[in-house]
Amino acid sequence: MSPGHYLALSAILFTIGALGVLVRRNAIVVFMCVELMLNAANLAFVSFARMHGNLDGQIIAFFVMVVAAAEVVVGLAILMTIFRTRKSASVDDANLLKY
């Protein structure tokens, strides 16, 4: 399999994730779509690592995973706070930049 196949799969998954971010209203599902985009980027990194024959791409994918884990923790905590005050997890309901 050439790296082109893997990169095409990565591009398709990334696009699906971006579409989900644009289309979905539930903030948790939006977060999941962001995770899908990060995973697609990871697949591209791993493919490039194999294409170039060194492990730097895998290291970058590893760092992406770490940052994604931190991002999920903080993002879900923010979501919980918003849900507690507004009783809703929809991105449409959090449209007022005031208390």
């Binding site: 399999m1 050439s2 790296p3 082109g4 893997y6 095409a8 799969l9 591009a11 398709i12 998954l13 990334f14 696009t15 699906i16 994730g17 579409l19 989900g20 644009l22 289309v23 979905r24 209203r25 539930n26 948790i28 999941m32 779509c33 995770e35 899908l36 995973n39 990871n42 697949l43 791993v46 690592a49 194999r50 294409m51 024959g53 060194n54 492990l55 895998q58 290291i59 994918a61 590893f62 760092f63 995973m65 770490v66 940052v67 994604a68 884990a69 931190a70 999920v72 923790v73 903080v74 879900l76 905590a77 923010i78 979501l79 919980m80 706070t81 849900f83 997890a89 929809s90 449409d92």
Partner: protein
């Protein structure tokens, strides 16, 4: 000329980086992951989306393993599928499993334009990939000569050691941030039991406990609503989460094909019969009951003899 060189390079690359069975697994995993990703954005329930995202992540883990990254494959399973996704499910349970997305568009034509933009973006990406001189993969046989984990550790603790240390600071910050954000400062004193009781009576609702599921019903399952004395099923007796998931009022429909009203009428008749039997509890009926049912208690037995 250039084409011949590229073809030769591709051939050499394929020979250097050949894995038997890779095309089969690649196409299988690619199709499954794309279908699961599409299902993820089209499912209305957030829980279904989470489960399909787990499918995508497991497929990607298998793809990492195929691509010579066994460490990342395991990290993907443990960190993403194990930790991150469970965190998602945990928050979903707190927010409410039954919540579904509204299909109302707040911006008119947003879905259409988002779809068009996605197709355009995909075309752009694929065109860029098609124009890039990708060649073929060199393979990780040399880089993974001492083992994938050892190779990664060598890079991580030599070239990327500063980024690695910065990562630890990031993780501590994230943990602290999550604790600060998720912690709720109590602005009002905690209500005492007395205040809670007064509030319950002042609201004028049901001060006592709600009816228990399965009362006077055929099963005592939690999704079986209780029958009220007039025969109507009481939705109050079923947890709202279960009531939202299934239509609990039709639960009394018999498996033998009778209609709902027939079954409820039969249930009510059975309840009335039992009540009447207990009401005219003369000596004869009590004796008949004792003769019919050997499970009669010892108390009634001694009473009858006396």
């Amino acid at each position: 000329m250039t084409r011949a060189i590229t073809a030769a390079g591709v051939l050499a690359g394929q020979v250097a980086d050949k894995q038997s069975g890779e095309p089969f697994f690649f196409w299988l995993l690619a199709i499954v992951s794309v279908l699961a990703a599409l299902g993820m954005i089209f499912m209305r329930r957030a829980v279904h989306s989470a489960l399909l995202l787990a499918t995508v992540m497991l497929c990607l883990a298998a793809l990492y393993a195929i691509e010579g990254a066994p460490f990342l494959a395991f990290v993907q399973v443990i960190v993403y599928t194990g930790a991150v996704l469970m965190l998602f499910l945990f928050v979903l349970m707190l927010v409410g499993v039954s919540s579904t997305d509204s299909l109302v568009e707040t911006i008119r034509g947003q879905r259409l334009w988002a779809g068009i933009a996605a197709i355009g973006f995909l075309a752009l990406l694929v065109a860029g990939l098609g124009n890039a001189a990708l060649g073929d993969s060199a393979g990780l046989a040399k880089a993974n000569a001492d083992g994938n984990v050892i190779g990664l550790a060598r890079l991580l603790f030599k070239d990327y050691v500063f980024a690695f240390e910065a990562t630890s600071a990031l993780l501590i910050t994230a943990a602290l941030g999550a604790m600060v954000l998720a912690h709720r400062e109590r602005t009002t004193p905690k209500p005492t039991q007395r205040e809670l009781s007064q509030r319950r009576f002042a609201s004028g609702g049901d001060p006592g406990p709600l009816p228990i599921s399965g009362t006077y019903a055929r099963h005592n399952a939690v999704d079986m609503p209780a029958l009220l004395p007039d025969g109507s099923p009481s939705e109050l007796s079923v947890s709202p989460v279960i009531a939202a998931r299934t239509d609990t009022s039709v639960r009394h429909t018999d498996l033998e094909g009778a209609s709902e009203t027939d079954v409820i009428a039969a249930d009510v008749a059975a309840v009335r019969r039992t009540t009447e039997d207990a009401a005219d509890a003369g000596d004869e009926s009590r004796a008949a009951y004792k003769a019919a049912g050997p499970a009669a208690g010892p108390a009634t037995g001694t009473e009858g003899e006396a």
